[in-house]
C-alpha cells in the first residue's frame, strides 16, 4: 500500500533553500538552520519547524549554514565573500571572516573551537575561533571551486568535494592530501556520518556510500531521478534522497530497496538531512520551503498525531491511518 504523509511545511524564505543542518540533541531539543539565496539564514526548532529567528547581516546569497553540537553557535557561508559566526541564542553576529571569493561551506569541529571554510577560491581554511584575528591555515590542492568540506576522523582529517570532480581526504596536522576519489561527473552532495565513519555521496542518479577513513566504496544505489542530496539514518537502517524530480525517496540501507517516495515540494530538492534522533528528515527546495517528513509514518511524534479511521467519521475507509499534523493543545 502506498504511503502518504503530510509533511510540516516551513515557509518564510523568499528564494531557494540550498543547505540545511541540524544541531545535536540539546536539553532544549534539537535545532535546524537553513541557508537560502535570500541571504537570510533561519533558525528553527528541529521537531516542530517553528521559526525561532533569522540571522541578519549577510549581503548576498547564503550557500552554507551549520550549527555547533549544542546549538549555541551558528556559522554561515555566503556569496558576499564572507563566512560569519553567530551567537545562536541571541542571533547576534559574532565574527565576520573575509574571503577572496564566494564561500560555499562552513563547519565547526566537535568542540566548536575551529571553523573550516571553503568556496570558490579553491582553498580550505581553518580558523581558530579562540584567536580569530590570526590568519587561518590554508590548504590548497583543488583545481576548482569547493562545494563542501567536512571534518572527519575525530576532526583529525578533512574531506572536501569540488567541481573538479574529486573528493579529497586531507590530514589536518600535515595539511597534506592523503587520498583522492575521482568521478566522471561533479559530486552534488556529501554527508559524513561519524558513528561508523561512513561518507554519503551523491552524483547523477547515484547515492554512494564510502568508508570515510579509507575511501573504499561500500555500496551504490541508483535512484529514479538525478539526486542532489542524500542522508543516512543515525541507526543506518534507512537513507533518504531528493533531487530534480521534486520527490523525496526513502530506501532501505541494507537491501537498497526503494521503500517510499513522497511528493510535496514544488521545485527540485537541494538538501535533505535526518534529524539527530532519526525521527524525521528535513528537505530544502528551490520552492523556498523546508519540509519535515516523518521517518516512521503513523507514529505520534512532535506535531504529528496518529488519527485512526473511526475518529474521522466519513473519511476514506481504505486508508489505514491518516496523519495530519494534529497540533497538541
Amino acid at each position: 500500500m502506498a504511503m502518504r504523509q503530510t509533511p510540516l511545511t516551513c515557509s518564510g524564505h523568499t528564494r531557494p533553500v540550498v543547505d540545511l543542518a541540524f544541531s545535536g540533541i540539546t536539553p532544549y531539543g534539537y535545532f535546524l538552520i537553513s541557508a537560502c539565496k535570500d541571504g537570510k539564514p533561519m533558525l528553527r526548532q528541529g521537531d516542530t519547524g517553528d521559526w525561532i529567528g533569522t540571522f541578519l547581516g549577510h549581503k548576498g546569497a547564503v550557500w552554507g549554514a551549520t550549527l555547533n553540537t549544542d546549538a549555541t553557535k551558528a556559522a554561515t557561508a555566503a556569496a558576499d565573500f564572507t563566512a560569519k559566526v553567530w551567537d545562536a541564542v541571541s542571533g547576534d553576529e559574532v565574527l565576520t571572516l573575509a574571503h577572496k571569493h564566494i564561500v560555499k561551506t562552513v563547519t565547526f569541529t566537535q568542540d566548536s573551537n575551529c571553523l573550516l571554510t571553503a568556496g570558490n577560491d579553491k582553498l580550505l581554511r581553518i580558523y581558530d575561533l579562540s584567536n580569530p584575528e590570526a590568519a587561518p591555515l590554508e590548504i590548497a590542492g583543488h583545481t576548482s571551486a569547493i562545494k563542501k568540506a567536512l571534518w572527519c576522523n575525530n576532526d583529525k582529517q578533512i574531506l572536501s568535494a569540488a567541481d573538479d570532480k574529486t573528493i579529497r581526504l586531507w590530514d589536518r596536522s600535515s595539511m597534506e592530501e592523503v587520498k583522492t576519489l575521482t568521478f566522471d561527473t561533479s559530486v552534488s552532495s556529501m554527508e559524513y556520518v561519524a558513528d561508523g565513519e561512513i561518507l554519503v555521496i551523491t552524483y547523477g542518479k547515484t547515492i554512494a556510500f564510502y568508508n570515510a577513513l579509507s575511501l573504499d566504496l561500500i555500496k551504490t544505489v541508483e535512484a529514479p531521478a538525478p539526486i542532489n542530496s542524500a542522508s543516512l539514518h543515525p541507526e543506518k537502517d534507512f537513507f533518504v534522497a531528493g533531487g530534480e524530480d521534486f520527490k523525496l525517496y526513502k530506501f532501505d540501507y541494507s537491501t537498497k530497496e526503494e521503500l517510499e517516495s513522497y511528493k510535496g515540494h514544488f521545485g527540485p530538492v537541494h538538501c535533505v538531512r535526518f534529524s539527530p534522533d532519526g525521527e524525521l528528515y528535513a528537505s530544502g527546495s528551490e520552492d523556498g520551503t523546508l519540509r519535515l517528513w516523518q521517518t516512521a509514518v503513523g507514529k505520534t511524534y512532535g506535531l504529528w498525531k496518529c488519527v485512526l479511521p473511526e475518529d474521522l467519521g466519513a473519511e476514506n475507509s481504505e486508508q489505514m491511518y491518516t496523519l495530519a499534523p494534529e497540533i497538541k493543545a
Binding site: Q45, T48, G49, D50, W51, I52, L303, I327, K328, A329
Partner: protein
C-alpha cells in the same frame, strides 16, 4: 489661543498613542507558530456556527447568489 489648541491636540494625540501602545503591550503573544496555528484552528472550530463560510447563509440574504433570468410579462 492657537498655541493652546495645538498643545491640547498633541496631548490628545499622545494619549491616543499611549492607549494604542498599552493595547499592544497587553496582547498575548505566542512565539511558536505551531501553538498559534492550534489556537487559530480551535477558535475557528469554536465559532463554526457563526462562520458563514462553514455554515452557509440563507439564500435570501446572499448578495452573490446566482441570478435567475428575468421574464417580461
Amino acid at each position: 489661543m492657537s498655541g493652546k489648541v495645538c498643545s491640547s491636540n498633541s496631548v490628545i494625540q499622545a494619549q491616543k498613542l499611549v492607549d494604542q501602545l498599552q493595547l499592544e503591550a497587553s496582547m498575548e503573544r505566542i512565539k511558536q507558530i505551531s501553538l498559534t496555528a492550534a489556537d487559530l484552528v480551535r477558535y475557528c472550530q469554536d465559532h463554526r456556527r457563526s462562520d458563514p463560510l462553514l455554515t452557509g447563509i440563507a439564500a435570501s440574504s446572499n448578495p452573490f447568489k446566482d441570478k435567475k433570468t428575468c421574464v417580461l410579462l
